[in-house]
């Protein structure tokens, strides 16, 4: 077992994976990667009965946490919210004694139907992806984690197959960069998507 700079935990949430093309391709690109633990929340907890202790142990064992999910109603699918509510306990993840996540990296990998033109002032969604992800950003920061810019695959409903293959490779390279610490965190801009940098 090779040693990596960072061990990555991907928390994957897609309630209707059988209907998904994009997330399926992205999942396949990284789920067998060494140094990556791919954790499908809907598969492990179909009844939403999240095992808090087990989840916390997983978090402790990894150095970077990635949420991978389809962008639903400007937010995550339900189980990721449930996961946050239950696992990020006061006194463990945040609060005076809660420092278990301190210093870990936190990234979002998401897919959206709309493209960049929809996520801007005057666009269909009026706000940028960064702005719409503020709740997650604040959550990460409150827990002392380093917030990474979102990695987003857009036009997900109409994306061509070859583009999707490209996006999946890109996702894999992104995780490799985190794992092997080749991503220059200090060179990242304040906003935008990380796709262009990683």
């Amino acid at each position: 077992m090779p040693e990596f700079d960072r061990k990555i935990l991907v928390l994957f949430a897609h309630p209707g994976l059988e209907n998904s093309r994009c997330n399926q391709a992205l999942k396949e690109a990284v789920c067998e990667m060494s140094g990556v633990t791919f954790h499908d929340l809907y598969a492990v907890y179909p009844d939403f009965a999240i095992n808090v202790k087990a989840e916390q142990t997983l978090l402790t064992d990894h150095d970077a946490v990635i949420f991978q999910f389809p962008f639903y109603w400007y937010s995550t699918p339900a189980i990721l919210k449930e996961w946050q509510d239950l696992v990020l306990e006061h006194g463990w993840a945040y609060g005076q004694e809660g420092n278990q996540l301190q210093g870990k990296l936190f990234g979002v990998v998401t897919t959206s139907g709309g493209g960049p033109e929809a996520y801007q002032r005057g666009g269909y969604n009026h706000y940028t992806m960064n702005e719409l992800l503020h709740p997650l950003e604040r959550t990460a920061i409150l827990c002392g984690m380093r917030w990474l810019l979102p990695f987003a695959v857009q036009h997900a409903l109409t994306i061509e197959d070859h583009e999707l293959v490209e996006a999946a490779k890109h996702y894999r390279r992104y995780l490799e960069a985190i794992r092997d610490d080749t991503l220059d965190l200090n060179a990242l801009p304040e906003s935008g998507l990380i796709n262009t940098f990683a």
Partner: protein
């Protein structure tokens, strides 16, 4: 002391019809059946009902029973022995230990104060100190039978006042033994035979007593369980009744033979068995005997009231009765204050114990035989004791109707003390189904009382620390003993349909406030359970079959979340289908024979399933959204 030799012959010798046993039994039972429900309806309680019945059939009214009243009383005192056994069963050793303060402190103070004050009063009235002391001892005792029965009937045994009363009564029952020992010495005839008999073999007796007590404790701990299990395994119910009676009578005989009070002996045996899994079953078996014998005892109290004497000296007797009750009440009330019983509970405590007890009859007659008190003194006092016993239910009614409501307004928060320790959930049947729900509730800190009829089973479960009791939950008395009147819910999880129906029906009939949930073995059974008014039932297999179904779909490649949702949807569909079927059954009951009906039902089920298939779960199917977005893009292009 209670003479047991009169008990057994009564049952055996009187079986000869020539003896008038059947006639007497008929008179007693008829009197009870007529008087007790009537008295209860009037709000007087069963005790007063029995006593009034006794007065009516007694020698001075109808004259149906006469001189043998005294011997019947002796026999009936065995009811007190059984009562103390049952009381013991309900009292775990740990709880008895917790009560040691009130028993010794409050009980001791009550007996000593009452003896001294009554002795003082009688001496002031011209009695010798020996006579005064003897009267004081006789009158210091209260009636265990009447008080416990009345408090139990009113559901007050676990209240603070009830507990204090119980402590004092227990001390009094112990105090009878030294009183009987002291009595002969008060006769001023030092070489009296009775005194000698009690006097000489002191140390031998002590050794014997210790031996017997140790024997009861050890046998109760280690011997009874294998015996009970052996008996239970035979599945013959009357054998259990037999062994329960054998146990009580045997212990009573044994303790009496060494000069201990049999009531005390059986009480001890009860306490030792309080932790046993057979506790509820024992209680259920002894209960009817206890109740009837106590009833006969109360009837005998009524029948022995000497009306001619009362009519000759009405004022004198009334004065003694009132004086007795008032003196005892005042002493109890002051002690209650000293021992911080709390206001309304102190009233209950003082009203409850302000009478003479059944042991006074024994002590008075004993005092007569050893020449401590002349018959001119014992006759009016015995009568006064009987009348004061008759007053107790009336005093308790006064407390309940007048004093308690006043007090309750005064300090409402006091009632928090009355919380009992019964478990909120009773589970009937601890087989494959019951044990899962039982463990689930235990694991979530919900107290459960478990009843099961398989002794092997119980043994294993008790080894892992669960509270499981042996007994058939369709018996009202057993449900009662398990606390069904105080519990919130009964879960019926027995393996036989008929038994389950029976339990549901009995529980709903006799404990209307108890919620009953049940496990149905199939849908037919579920329909039955509804007819018997179960509040909720679950098909025993649907849950686990659907869980395995989720595993199957997942294995076939469905995402577990989709499979899970499908199972939930199907479960809902199943409930709805059953409701439809139930309605269909009710509507068509008259038209279809059984076989036809079940064929139609299967058809209905399949039709409903087809409907289910036509309405799948569309969740997260983005086909329509994709089409819309694509067509928009084409338009733009």
């Amino acid at each position: 002391m209670l003479d047991l030799t009169s008990v057994l012959p009564l049952a055996i010798a009187n079986a000869d019809p020539d003896d008038g046993f059947l006639l007497h039994a008929t008179v007693y039972l008829a009197a009870a059946v007529l008087a007790v429900p009537f008295a209860k309806r009037l709000g007087l309680g069963s005790v007063l009902g029995y006593i009034i019945a006794g007065v009516v059939i007694g020698p001075y009214v109808l004259g149906l029973v006469g001189a043998e009243g005294q011997s019947v009383m002796h026999a009936a005192e065995f009811g007190v022995v059984m009562m103390l056994f049952v009381v013991g069963l309900e009292l775990r050793p740990a709880m008895l230990w917790r009560l040691r303060g009130p028993i010794l402190g409050l009980g001791g103070a009550q007996v000593i104060c009452t003896v001294l004050i009554i002795a003082g009063i009688t001496m002031a009235l011209g009695m010798s100190w020996q006579g005064g002391l003897a009267i004081g001892m006789c009158l210091s005792l209260s009636s265990t039978a009447i008080v416990l029965q009345s408090l139990n009937e009113k559901g007050l045994t676990r209240s603070r006042g009830g507990q204090a009363s119980f402590s004092v009564l227990l001390f009094q029952d112990i105090a009878v033994i030294p009183m009987l020992a002291i009595m002969p010495f008060l006769a001023m005839v030092p070489e009296d035979d009775a005194a000698k008999a009690l006097h000489t073999p002191h140390w031998q007796k002590a050794v014997l007593i210790i031996g017997v007590v140790a024997g009861i404790v050890l046998a109760g701990r280690y011997l009874t369980r294998p015996i009970f299990r052996y008996i239970a395994a035979t599945q013959i119910r009357e054998m259990f009744t037999a062994i329960a009676l054998l146990l009580v009578i045997g212990v009573a005989l044994l303790t009496q033979s060494v000069g201990l009070s049999p009531a005390l002996g059986t009480f001890l045996a009860g306490v030792v068995l309080a932790e046993s899994e057979f506790r509820h079953e024992l209680e259920g078996n002894i209960e009817p005997f206890k109740g009837l014998l106590l009833g006969v005892f109360f009837i005998a109290v009524g029948a022995t009231i000497d009306f001619p004497f009362l009519l000759k000296h009405p004022l004198g007797i009334a004065g003694i009765v009132i004086g007795l009750v008032v003196i005892k009440f005042v002493i109890l009330f002051i002690l209650g204050k000293v021992f911080h019983i709390g206001r309304d509970q102190n009233w209950l405590f003082s009203f409850a114990l302000a009478q003479g007890g059944e042991f006074a009859f024994v002590l008075f007659s004993f005092a007569g035989t050893v020449d401590v008190l002349p018959i001119e003194v014992t006759t009016p006092l015995t009568l006064a004791v009987a009348l004061s016993m008759m007053m107790t239910p009336l005093l308790l009614i006064i407390h309940e109707r007048i004093v308690a409501p006043l007090m309750q307004n005064a300090d409402a928060e006091r009632h928090a003390d009355d919380i009992d320790e019964e478990n909120p959930i009773i589970i009937a049947g601890f087989g494959s189904f019951g044990n899962i729900i039982g463990r689930f509730l235990q694991a979530n800190n919900i107290g459960t009382t478990v009843l099961d009829t398989d002794p092997e089973h119980i043994e294993t479960l008790r080894k892992i620390g669960l509270k499981v009791y042996y007994g058939d939950a369709s018996r009202i008395d057993l449900l009662h003993a398990a606390g069904a009147d105080k519990a919130r819910m009964l879960i019926v999880a027995v393996d036989e349909k008929e038994k389950a129906n029976q339990i549901v029906s009995v529980a709903k009939k006799h404990f209307p406030n108890l919620i009953v949930y049940a496990r149905a073995l199939d849908y037919e059974h579920g329909a039955n359970l509804f007819e018997y008014r179960a509040d909720k039932w679950r098909h025993q297999n649907v849950g686990s079959a659907l869980e395995l179904g989720v595993d199957v779909l997942s294995y076939l490649g469905w995402s577990p979340f989709r499979a899970w949702r499908a199972s939930r949807r199907f479960s809902r569909h199943e409930d709805e289908t059953f409701k439809k079927l139930l309605k269909f059954r009710e509507d068509d009951k008259a038209f279809f024979d059984k076989a036809r009906q079940s064929r139609e039902e299967i058809e209905k089920i399949f039709m409903a399933d087809a409907e289910f298939k036509e309405n799948p779960d569309h969740a997260w199917d983005n086909t329509s959204l994709k089409e819309e977005v694509s067509s928009q893009q084409e338009e733009q292009a």
